[in-house]
């Protein structure tokens, strides 16, 4: 989690920053890429006629006209599966980051507001403990412990365990980020003014601090969604991945890790999709942060 971006203090830099139009170009390219990936996820099976899990050709066929990204161990079309995985990965990233962001930020702000009390101390220690807790134990336990039915309605099999792992770790992050920001916001005029006017503490949190902190946290969340997608992919290694045959980039690359030399296309194209997604998210995050900083004095 990167440090909070304080507005530049240098007079001229402030002037220059405010005049420069927040580069929406990056933002648009980012959003456009993600949208294109999702569109292809729905279109490709129709266009190519190959189902996501259909054994469409001979196994391990190199990229060819009939299979531009080649086929995998079962002869399934890698291109259709790579884009179909976008649906799963974006959903996981969106849910994991979104839920962590909301819960984490709220708790962070609450700690910020009740600053100094026992509640503050306890909650902060909880955050420290969660961040200190080795994620891998939770993941391994989840691989095993989550009941026989690992799928929940609407989610592909195996994602609940994944989401729980990402959520339990993620919220503490955002709590710490929001806490730091809430502390800096407390001194800001409008919060002090609100307290002067006798607003109740929850009103201050909900009406004044949360929107502000949420805006900054969201900008960072988008940037760190890249981290979450990378982490999801790595969790496949620990067995906490999405259940087969549902396509997910980390799981596809995990299953193909043994034939990286002979059937490189089964790993490289999903890897490429991951990198492109990462870059798109980074562009969106930069655009959001600039918009945020461009606006605030």
């Amino acid at each position: 989690m990167s440090a909070t971006a304080a507005a530049p203090t240098h007079p001229v830099a402030r002037v220059a920053r405010r005049l420069r139009l927040p580069s929406d170009v990056g933002l648009l390219i980012g959003v456009g890429t993600l949208a294109a990936m999702l569109a292809l996820a729905f279109l490709l099976p129709v266009v190519t006629g190959y189902g996501t899990n259909e054994f469409a050709g001979a196994p391990y066929q190199a990229p060819s006209l009939s299979h531009p990204f080649g086929t995998d161990q079962f002869g399934r079309d890698v291109m259709v599966r790579t884009f179909a995985a976008a649906k799963v990965d974006y959903m996981i990233a969106f849910l994991a980051v979104g839920v962590s962001l909301l819960i984490g930020t709220t708790i962070g702000v609450v700690i910020g507001v009740v600053h100094g009390g026992v509640v503050d101390w306890l909650l902060s220690r909880l955050v420290d403990a969660v961040i200190a807790f080795p994620l891998v134990i939770l993941v391994l336990a989840l691989v095993v412990a989550v009941g026989p039915e690992k799928s929940a309605p609407g989610l592909p099999a195996g994602t609940p365990a994944l989401l729980i792992a990402l959520f339990v770790f993620g919220w503490a992050f955002y709590a710490r980020l929001a806490h730091a920001q809430a502390l800096s916001l407390r001194e800001r005029e409008f919060v002090v003014a609100a307290r002067m006017m006798g607003y109740s503490r929850t009103r201050i949190v909900m009406r004044h601090m949360l929107p502000n902190v949420l805006a900054t946290a969201t900008a960072y969340a988008v940037g760190d969604a890249v981290f979450i997608i990378g982490a999801t992919a790595s969790l496949a290694f620990l067995g906490a991945g999405v259940q087969p045959p549902t396509p997910e980039w980390g799981q596809i690359m995990f299953e193909a890790r043994g034939v990286l030399e002979t059937a490189w296309w089964t790993s490289v194209f999903p890897g490429l999709a991951l990198v492109v997604t990462g870059l798109a998210l980074a562009l969106i995050a930069d655009g959001l942060i600039q918009r945020l900083e461009g606006g605030s004095k």
Binding site: A3, A132, P134, G230, G271, L274
Partner: protein, 319 residues
């Protein structure tokens, strides 16, 4: 100067804080693994054992008691500093397992952080202070690209190229002692470093960008100091503080990364012991490793906070 009592209270607070984290982690780890189906008796006797044989071994290992009783006993032992003995590796005290595994993981993480800093800081500085936006954007996007790739993919590529094709490093394994271990250490450390490199570059770039917009940096340039000198003396120190914070947070993430790298390179470290322990339901070892890992993270954060105060004179000489 800050009075002795306030320092005492701050240290006391930290100790209490560590105890709370330790208890929390031990209890959670102990409960979580006991929820998992199957136990040490099953793994020891394998799929040929009779139900009576398994039941007898469970009783012998005390696994037939309630989860609550087992956790309470664990806390009691930990309070006395006794991590217990492994269930599946007879007569192996957990402390011995932890002490054998700890140096391997710590050396990999330390080397990884070193590589990440040695490569990441210059890159971050260049990205943060360059006037050509293309360079800044190029470095940042490359860093993000690496962040998106799964760690095991990068590790396997490293083995394929550096170990098998170029043959300049062993394809995994661990040496008998030091310095022979260094031969086995650098490749896994490199793979783990690539995992943290993007974050280091991002943080340093952010700090450098913010630092170079500060007035004292412009004042330094105005005084005729060379750009290299300005960066080294005025921009870099300012980046070290957020770097320290990142290192503090990194410790937790690196432990997870270490599990992947240790498995792929076959290093006898924390991560692998943990995966084996969970795979064989060796509760005491799991709890021992979880506790040590958590204390390691808390300790790193403690050191970081101390360095934070030390590095920033405004705090050190507060009137």
């Amino acid at each position: 100067m800050t009075t002795v009592s306030s320092i005492g209270s701050r240290v006391g607070l930290r100790v209490l804080q560590t105890v709370v984290v330790a208890v929390f982690v031990t209890v959670i780890a102990a409960v979580l693994v006991r929820l998992a189906p199957g136990d040490a008796a099953t793994t020891l006797l394998g799929d040929r054992a009779t139900p009576e044989g398994v039941a007898r071994l469970q009783a012998q290992l005390g696994l037939d008691r309630s989860v609550f009783a087992q956790v309470a006993e664990t806390l009691g032992n930990v309070a006395r500093g006794d991590l217990g003995t492994s269930l599946t590796r007879p007569d192996q005290p957990v402390s011995r397992i932890v002490l054998d595994a700890l140096p391997v993981t710590l050396s990999v993480i330390a080397a990884a952080l070193l590589v990440a800093v040695v490569v990441g800081v210059p890159l971050g500085l260049i990205a943060g202070t360059t006037r050509r936006p293309a360079v800044d954007r190029g470095i940042s996007l490359a860093a993000i690209g690496l962040l998106a790739l799964p760690s095991f993919f990068l590790a396997i590529i490293a083995i394929l190229v550096l170990a098998l094709t170029l043959g300049i490093a062993p394809a995994g394994g661990w040496g008998g002692g030091w310095p022979e271990n260094l031969k086995y250490l650098w490749l896994p450390a490199l793979s783990l470093a690539v995992l943290r490199l993007p974050q280091v570059v991002r943080v340093v770039r952010e700090a450098a960008r913010e630092a170079s917009s500060h007035e004292y940096v412009e004042a330094a340039v105005a005084r005729g100091l060379s750009p290299r000198r300005v960066t080294a003396r005025h921009v870099l120190p300012n980046c070290l503080l957020p770097m320290l914070a990142l290192v503090g947070f990194d410790a937790a993430v690196l432990l997870s990364g270490a599990v992947v790298v240790e498995s792929i390179f076959g290093l006898p470290g924390f991560g692998r012991e943990l995966v084996t322990a969970v795979g064989t339901r060796d509760y005491p070892t799991i709890q021992g490793i979880a506790l040590t890992a958590a204390l390691f993270v808390v300790f790193v954060n403690l050191v970081v906070d101390a360095l934070y105060a030390l590095a920033d004179p405004r705090v050190r000489t507060a009137r």
